[in-house]
Amino acid sequence: MKAIVSVFAKDSKGITAYVTALLAENEINILDISQTLMQEYFAMIMLVDLTDCTLPFDQLSQLLKDKGVERGLDIHVQRQDIFEAMHRI
């Protein structure tokens, strides 16, 4: 299953490293990555493949959320389908 991981935070050093390490620990493959700065806010969006992920979706979502909060990041993981449904006919 493919999903979108989005990360929002005040910009600081090492955000990408922290999040990608988290994903690697859980056997999640990053297919694509994009990041932008909106004023001083950092927004990173990743397309990931969850096929090998060891955790069920619910737990992964909670883990990323909790790990994000520890470092002041807002991390969401959502199935890709919702974006496709909304933006593509």
Binding site: I4, S6, A43, I45, F57, I82, M86, R88
Partner: protein
């Protein structure tokens, strides 16, 4: 990004959910209870309880799982059932309150927020069962927590059953005397729809399958946000913007509906795209009308603005889903919309203007608090006016009035949660008692010679 969806689209979706209150308002499971009939009401109750608990067992868990995976809030999980006046018609009992209690405990057992269908369809006349059900409403709604009730008193094809209109005025009065909160769970309809997933008017119509999943999507905040970007532009641009936004919202609803239907192995019915406001700031239909250029919702121009909104929402939604149904359009419940409340308090929005707005919105006079001493005949006359609008214009209209016990114009009544709070609104003086007392039926309208 190299794949199809670009990051600005992803950010837009996340922003809609996080900041503009986009949500799936309800996933409603419709359940036919017609096979639960029995002469003994206790047997009937047991069958009703067992059937609901079996079919809806996984509804809430499934809804929550979809909510987490897609990251989209599904605010309510609800059940609608066949009109109880049909289910109970075979019962010998005179009082249907035990059935309401059963619905309430089944709803609590499966964990849903509301259960609708303590209903009667009597637009042309009463069956014995319709009358028993209607007379059970005041106790049924005040002795249960989650049961919602609706009564259809008029239709374009049958006319208005004025005996039912008169009776419902008295029933609303009796319910309010016990507990005004009961009235928030009671809707009087003209042209009620069979697949509406929204409460308090949801019931599972007789033309519906055994079990079905209907989804209601909302999103006034998203439409308001999109319209802020077209300040000063002509209405063509406004209508296009609403359509495009409604399309996106409905696509999301369609996805959730299909996913819920697949996981529960229950057929998908309809997506109901209704701009349903909540008391939260920024989730208001009144605000959309004001963004269109009105100083205050309720002023001159409001009906035209609402007509555009309601129509554009439908047009955008229709293309986005394989089956759009229910009430689809814009709701204008006063207590549930911060902008409407503020307009009433500022003296800009009157009951007369609300009545005019119901000619072009998706339902009717909704969640309006009226003085505690409002007579049953006045309530009936308001229902008659609203039913006439629905009957003549071939649309659904409804009345959900709350006589605020012990309160008068200018006071406020609180319902809590999504139901919000409402300022008590003044009504017209002059007694309609003799008019209401006539009874009989107002004939169905002619559908030619239209002027």
């Amino acid at each position: 990004m190299s794949y199809l969806i670009n990051s600005s689209e992803i950010l837009q979706t996340i922003e809609m959910i996080d900041q503009q209150h986009l949500d799936v308002r309800t996933v409603t499971m419709g359940i036919s209870l017609l096979d639960c009939a029995d002469r003994d009401i206790n047997v009937c109750c047991q069958r009703v309880y067992d059937k609901i608990c079996t079919l809806a067992d996984k509804l809430v868990d499934t809804g929550c799982a979809i909510e987490r995976e897609f990251g989209i809030p599904i605010v309510n999980k609800r059940i609608s059932v066949s009109p109880i006046s049909l289910v109970a018609a075979a019962c010998e009992a005179e009082d249907y309150v035990p059935l309401a209690m059963t619905l309430d405990s089944a709803a609590k057992a499966v964990g849903v927020n509301f259960i609708g269908g303590f209903s009667a369809l009597c637009h042309k006349g009463f069956t014995k069962s319709d009358l028993k059900l209607i007379h059970s409403i005041p106790r049924a709604l005040t002795e249960t927590d989650l049961v919602c009730s609706s009564v259809n008193v008029a239709s374009t094809k049958a006319g208005i059953n004025m005996d039912a209109v008169a009776l419902m005025g008295r029933i609303i009065r009796q319910t309010a005397d016990i507990d005004p909160m009961g009235c928030a769970k009671l809707v009087v309809f003209a042209n009620a729809v069979e697949d509406n997933p929204f409460m308090a008017g949801a019931f599972h119509g007789v033309g519906e399958p055994e079990c079905v999943i209907n989804v209601g999507v909302s999103g006034p905040g998203v439409v308001a946000h999109a319209l802020k970007a077209c300040k000063g532009q002509p209405f063509d641009v406004v209508a296009e913007t609403v359509k495009k936004t409604a399309f996106k919202i409905t696509r999301m609803g369609q996805l959730v509906a299909q996913e819920a239907s697949r996981r529960l192995d229950v057929p998908f019915g309809v997506v109901d795209l209704s701009l349903a406001p909540t008391p939260a700031i920024g989730d208001s239909v009144a605000e959309i009308l004001e963004i269109m250029g009105l100083e205050k919702c309720g002023g001159h121009g409001t009906t035209a603005a609402l007509a555009l909104l309601n129509d554009a929402v439908k047009k955008g939604g229709v293309m986005a889903s394989s089956h759009v149904g229910g009430l689809s359009g814009a709701f204008i419940p006063v207590s549930e919309d911060a902008g409407m409340i503020s307009a009433v308090e500022a003296g800009a929005l009157s009951i007369d203007k609300l009545e005019a707005m119901t000619c072009v919105c998706s339902v009717g006079l909704d969640m309006i608090a009226v003085p505690g001493d409002t007579g049953a005949d006045v309530i009936s006359a308001i229902i008659a006016d609203e039913a006439a609008i629905g009957m003549v214009n071939t649309k659904t209209t409804a009345v959900r009035l709350i006589p605020a016990k012990g309160k008068t114009v200018g006071d406020r009544i609180d319902f809590g949660g999504l139901l919000g709070s409402a300022p008590v609104m003044p009504l017209r003086s002059g007694s309609p008692a003799e008019f209401v007392a006539r009874g009989g039926r107002i004939p169905a309208p002619l559908h030619s010679l239209k002027n």
